[in-house]
Amino acid sequence: MNPKSYCEIAKGVKLLCMNSDKFKTNFLSVDFYVPINEHFAALNVLSSLMGHTSKNYKTFSSFNAKIESLYGADFDTSIATAGEKVRFRFSVEMPDDRFSLDSNKISEDAVDFIINIISNPNCENKKIDEENTKREIKFTLENIEAEKNDKRAYALSRLRQLMCAGEPYGIDREKLEEDVKNLDSTKLYNAYKNLLETSTIIITACGSLSEDMLNAKFSAFVDTIDNRKTQTLENIYIEKADEIRYFTEEMDITQAKLVIGLRSGMTNAEDDYFAFRVMTDIFGGGPYSRLFLNVREKMSLCYYCGARLLRDKGIIFIQSGIEEENYQKALTEILNQLDIMKKGEFSDEDYNSSITALCDAFRGVGDSPASVCAFYNSQAFDKELVSGLEFAEKIRAVTREQVVECANRVTVDSVYLLKGEGKDNE
C-alpha cells in the first residue's frame, strides 16, 4: 500500500482506493471541497441535515435504523475548513463483508447508502423540506453557541477570528450565526446544488472495497450532475505580522486560557513544510519540547502548553491553560523559548528527540483504515502522494540549520487571553 496519486475518474473527481486485508473494517470518505463563500452558513446546516434524514429516510429513526442494519456502521457527516477551503464530508466505516451474517455484502450496501444520501436530500420543488430546515437551523445555531462550552476550543476560535479577521479563514462566529438565522429552504437547496456542481470531489477508501466498484458507482453518480464546473481552491498565506496585537476577553471560568498565533513565514503548503514541521515540534510538540519542559515541567505554570503548525495557512497556534496572575510570566517564557529557537540555542538532544518522535509516528500511520485515509486525504491537493515512510525520510533530512532558518521567519501576530470575569487586569 504505497499509492502515488489519486486517480481522476471524472473532471474534478479524484479517487484513491487502497486495498489491504489486514483490517476487520472498511473505510470510505467522500469529500466535497469548495472555497469559503456565501454558501458557508447553508453548508453548515446541510451537513447536519444530511447526516440525519434524507428523501428515502425521512425520520431520524428510519435513517438510523438503516445504519444499524449495516451492522452498526459508523456513518458521519462533517464540515471543516482547511485554510480557505471548506471540506464537506460524508464518511462510513463498516465491518468487512466476511463478517456478514447473511449473503448481503455490507460494503456494497454501505457505498450505495452513502451515494443515496448524497444524491437525495429531503427536498421537493427546489426546496429542502421546511420542517427539516427549521429544525436543523436550530441545531446549527445551538452547535455554534455550544462552542463556548469547551473553553480551550473557544479561546482558540476567538484568537483565530481576531487574528485572521481580514481573511475568509477567520470566519466570524457572530456573522455566521446571523447568516444561519437568515437561511431558508430555498437557500439550502441552492447551496446543495452549488456544492454538487462546483466542488472538487475527493473519494478515499481503505480496506477490501473494490476500486472498480467505487469507480463505477461514483462515476455514475457524477454523471447525474449537470453543469459541473469546479471552482479554484486557493489558500491565503500571510508571511509576516507587522506588530503584536493583544486581546483580552472575559468569561465565567476557573482557569485562564492563553492562545498565541504566529505567522510561520510559509508562503504556500510546500514551502519548507518539513523543516517548519520539525521546528514547531521542537518548540512545542511532545513532552520533549521546549514549551513542555520549561513552561510546564520547570516552572509548573500549566498542565498543557503546546504548539502546532497549520499547514494550510502557515500559522502556528500555541495553547495553554494558566492561572490568570501568571499571564505575564507564561507569555514571557513562551516568547523566550521562541527566541531560543531563533538563536539556535536549543540542544542537539531537543533536535534529535523531535526527529526521532516524528519519524516514529509517521512510520506507523498505516494501522487503521481511517488513519490511512486521513493521512493520504490530507495530501489530496499535493503534487504527489508521500507514504508514511517517505514522510519520515523527509523529516529526517531536515537539518538544525534549516530549523533555525525557519524559526527566524516566524513572527508573533496575536496574543489572546480568556480570563475570569470581573478580575483586575494582569
Binding site: S20, K22, F23, K24, T25, T59, F60, S61, N64, A65, S69, L70, Y71, G72, A73, E93, M94, P95, F99, L101, K138, E142, N143, E145, A146, K148, N149, D150, K151, M251, D252, I253, T254, Q255, G286, P287, Y288, S300, L301, C302, Y303, G321, I322, E323, E349, N352, S353, T356, A357, C359, D360, A361, R363, G364, V365, G366, D367, S368, P369, G388
Partner: protein, 424 residues
C-alpha cells in the same frame, strides 16, 4: 517458568497469548500481522475509588487523600536520573498514562525501537522515586489540571450527578482530587500506595501490534523481578439503594443547560457481569438510542438536540443507566424518559427492535478489533474484571429478549438523580 496459552477466535481469525509470567505478573501479547506499530500498556487495578484499604495481615485500614492514585501516576514518570519522558525521547515512542476510577495505566506506542521502549516502561513503573521537593512541584501542575476540568461542563455534569446519586461510594469524588486534598499528599504516602497496589497480583501488561511473544518475554524476563504478591482489602462504606439528592444544579458558562440523568441500580454484588453490562448497553439503545421513539419524539419536539447520549456506567460497587445531553427544559426530558421506561415495562420490548440492536452490537464488537490501543486497553480492563477479550461475542449471542425485559424491569425510576449545569 512462564506459562503460555494461545486464545483463538475463528470468526475474527485472530489469536492472542495469555502468559503467566514467572515473576507473578500476567502478560498478554496480541500480534497483529502486517501492522507497523506496537502499543503496550502496563496497568494496576488501582484508581481514584481506592481511598481506604489494607494489605492482608495488617490490622489497620489506611485512608489516603483524594486524588492520590492520579498523583502517583504523574510522579512515577520521575526517577533519580532521567525522567521517563526524557528516556522515551531517545526511542521516539509516544508515551502517556491515565488514571480512572478503578485503574492506573502507563502506555506507549511506537513503530521502531520497541524493545528499548518496553524496557523503559517496565523499568520506570517498577522503580518509584519520590522526594518532598518533586511532590511539591507536581502540586502546581495537577492543580492546573484540576482547574482545567472544572471549566468542562460535561465533566462537571457527570461528577455533579455522581455526588447526587452516591452517599458514600468514592466514585463521587473527582479522579484528580481537589487542590486542597492533593496538598496533603507526601512522598511517604505515595510510597505506601505504591507498595500496596503496584504488585504482580494486582497488575498486568498487554502488548498489541507488530510484536511477538518472544520479543516481549525476552524483555519481561529481564526486567520484571519476582515480587511478593499482596492481597489487598478495600474498604467501602455501605451504599444505600436510594440517592442523595433528586436534582443538583451548578452554574458554569454554558450556551444551553447541560443535563445528566442517572438511574442508580440496586446491586447485591460489587461487580456487574459481562452479560449484565451488555444487556444494559442494548437496553439503553432500545430506550434512548438513535432509532428509539423517545429520541425521535424529543428531537421533533425540540426538547433535546443531537448531543443526547446514553451510557451504562459501572465499576466496583456502583452502576447506573445514564442519559445526558443539552436542553432548555431538562425536567421535561426527565419526565419523558421516566414515562418511556414505565410504558416499555408495561408493553415489553418488540423482537424486531431487539434483533436490530443486537446486530449493531455484533458489528460494534468486530469493529473494535482494528485498533491496537483499544485492544490493549480492553485486554487489561477485561482481565481486571475477570473477562477474556473474545468472551463478549459468545455472551452477546446468548442474550435473549427476555433478559432485556428483565433488565428493564429492574430499573427503579424512584432511585434516580439529575444534574443540571447552567449559566448563572
Amino acid at each position: 517458568m512462564n506459562k503460555i496459552r494461545e486464545i483463538k477466535n475463528d470468526l475474527l481469525n485472530d489469536s492472542y497469548f495469555e502468559i503467566d509470567h514467572k515473576s507473578g505478573f500476567k502478560i498478554f501479547v496480541y500480534p497483529k500481522e502486517n501492522y507497523s506499530s506496537a502499543y503496550a500498556v502496563f496497568g494496576t487495578k488501582y484508581g481514584s475509588i481506592d481511598t481506604c484499604f489494607r494489605v492482608e495481615g495488617n490490622e489497620e485500614f489506611t485512608t489516603v487523600p483524594e486524588g492520590i492514585a492520579h498523583f502517583l501516576e504523574h510522579k512515577l514518570f520521575e526517577s533519580e536520573e532521567l525522567d521517563a519522558f526524557a528516556r522515551y525521547a531517545k526511542t521516539g515512542a509516544s508515551a502517556n498514562a491515565y488514571t480512572s476510577f478503578d485503574k492506573t495505566c502507563y502506555l506507549f506506542q511506537c513503530s521502531g525501537n520497541f524493545e528499548k521502549s518496553l524496557e523503559i516502561l517496565l523499568d520506570f513503573v517498577s522503580n518509584p522515586y519520590f522526594t518532598e521537593q518533586t511532590v511539591q512541584k507536581e502540586q502546581g501542575i495537577i492543580g492546573q489540571e484540576i482547574k482545567m476540568y472544572q471549566d468542562e461542563p460535561g465533566w462537571e455534569s457527570l461528577f455533579a450527578l455522581l455526588r447526587a446519586m452516591y452517599h458514600n461510594h468514592p466514585v463521587r469524588i473527582d479522579i484528580a482530587g481537589t487542590v486542597e486534598s492533593i496538598s496533603h499528599i507526601t512522598a511517604e504516602l505515595l510510597y505506601e500506595c505504591y507498595e500496596t497496589f503496584y504488585n504482580p497480583a494486582n497488575m498486568a501488561l498487554a502488548v498489541v501490534g507488530n510484536v511477538t511473544v518472544e520479543q516481549v518475554l525476552e524483555i519481561a524476563d529481564r526486567m520484571l523481578k519476582p515480587k511478593k504478591s499482596k492481597k489487598i482489602e478495600r474498604k467501602f462504606q455501605i451504599e444505600p439503594e436510594t440517592v442523595v439528592e433528586d436534582t443538583i444544579v451548578r452554574n458554569l458558562a454554558v450556551s444551553m443547560p447541560i443535563f445528566a440523568i442517572g438511574y442508580k441500580e440496586k446491586i447485591t454484588t460489587p461487580c456487574r457481569t459481562l452479560k449484565e453490562t451488555l444487556e444494559s448497553n442494548i437496553l439503553l439503545d432500545i430506550i434512548g438510542g438513535k432509532t428509539s421513539n423517545l429520541y425521535e419524539e424529543m428531537l421533533t419536539d425540540g426538547l433535546i438536540n443531537t448531543t443526547f447520549d446514553i451510557e451504562y456506567f459501572e465499576g466496583f460497587g456502583y452502576s447506573a443507566h445514564i442519559f445526558n445531553g443539552e436542553s432548555t427544559e431538562p425536567e421535561k426530558v426527565r419526565e419523558r424518559i421516566n414515562k418511556e421506561i414505565e410504558k416499555m415495562k408495561k408493553q415489553g420490548i418488540d423482537k424486531e427492535t431487539f434483533d436490530r440492536i443486537k446486530k449493531k452490537h455484533y458489528g460494534g464488537f468486530i469493529m473494535n478489533f482494528n485498533d491496537i490501543d483499544s485492544l490493549a486497553n480492553a485486554l487489561i480492563g477485561g482481565y481486571f474484571n475477570g473477562d477474556g477479550l473474545y468472551d463478549q461475542l459468545e455472551v452477546l449471542e446468548s442474550i435473549t429478549l427476555h433478559d432485556i425485559n428483565n433488565r428493564l424491569n429492574a430499573i427503579n425510576i424512584e432511585n434516580s438523580s439529575m444534574s443540571i449545569i447552567k449559566q448563572n
